[in-house]
Amino acid sequence: MIKIHVDEHKCVGAGQCVLAAPQVFDQREEDGVVLLLQDHAEGGLEPGVRKAAKLCPALAIRIEEA
């Protein structure tokens, strides 16, 4: 299982995380800033979350191995 941390102040609203892991990430309607739908992921969701963290162009996603 992994724990997911997001930094709303760094987020630039690219939405790449939502494209990589739509069950875990969404965006605020008004400014596109990341919304975490769940703060952990396991099993089949993990690869998408890891991809999201690598793709994030603002380094706003941090993964902690739990």
Partner: protein, 396 residues
Amino acid sequence: MRRIVIVGAAVAGLTAAETLRDEGFTGAITLVDGERHAAYDRPPLSKQVLSGRMQRSDLALKPADFCASHCIEHRLGVRAQRLDMQTRAVVLETGERLRFDELIIATGLRPKPLSDQPRLSGIHMLRTLDDAEALRADLLQARRVAVVGAGFLGSEIAATARELGAHATLVDALELPMLRQVGRDVASVILRTHRERGVHVRTGRVVAEFHHQHERVKSLTLDDGEHLDADVVVVAVGSIPNTEWLEDSGLTLDDGVLCDAYCRAADGVYAAGDVARWRHPRWGISLRLEHRVHAAEQAMVAARNLLGAAIPFDPLPYFWTDFHDVKVQVFGRIGLHDAMTVTSGDLAARSFTAVYEHAGVITAVLGWNAARAVRRMSALVGQPVDAVKPLAAIAA
């Protein structure tokens, strides 16, 4: 022991190294880079770093112990000078040879100077953290700033210079700022936005002459004879892929390192990021993207293919730019003659979305202060227009 050498330790190089370990590679990895700072993120350089909202400590791409924890040998501040494919070695500027079994090329870009750009203090180009800090120091003293080139970088720098209180003028050879990136209609909105925020814009103009006093730039003359006083000039007219070190390698160089659809330049040699030109598998054209997200995305694909996968690199191009209080985001590629339809808001609104089409196919979607909406529309790119009409209902 099997050894993979990665040349270039910015986003693409680091992501490739991390992916190799994630995929279970246990051999040796050596990362080489001429940059003397530990890897940092570049998009904030022209925005938050220039404005002073972010410092170098905010830009680290990876935790300080990343290379140690991933068993990566990291050679900072040493340039690769040559690639010897016969002996499969990277020759460093120190003369040292790094033998490899596989190689990943991620040497990125550097700014392209104007053809007759003089060497004067006060004239800047922006690529590195050192460049950004030097430019910020100069901007804080500047009264009048001229930015040559109104693409993303130039527009962001001019907006930041204005925010810092300078009189800013943006000069571009084309008739509108960011014309090639966003098309005519949105480029017109960008022009209006700059003017509303007090950035002066001179389009369809090039610099005819630089003037100086005591080896420091003082003013510019444009090709129509207009004289612009400027104590700081920033040149942002494009970039050049860093491929000189590969010139006698036998690899094909064509505005970047030419790769196949799998990011492979030769047997066991891959390229990723700004320096890589590859054949887009769906579109059948050769492309080189200079966008932040794809540097990471392409590095992941290149690393996995190096380890034996066969994944075509098939990205949906994405870029964003922030200037004044505007965020423009584009998924897809906008052609200069694509037809545009506004799908929510209107071009005078604080926020709108638009769809671009060519030959009956949606080529791109654009959001203007509409981050969530445009991301939701990104799946439309590549679809026939008829399948998703009426376009005006899309964003609802």
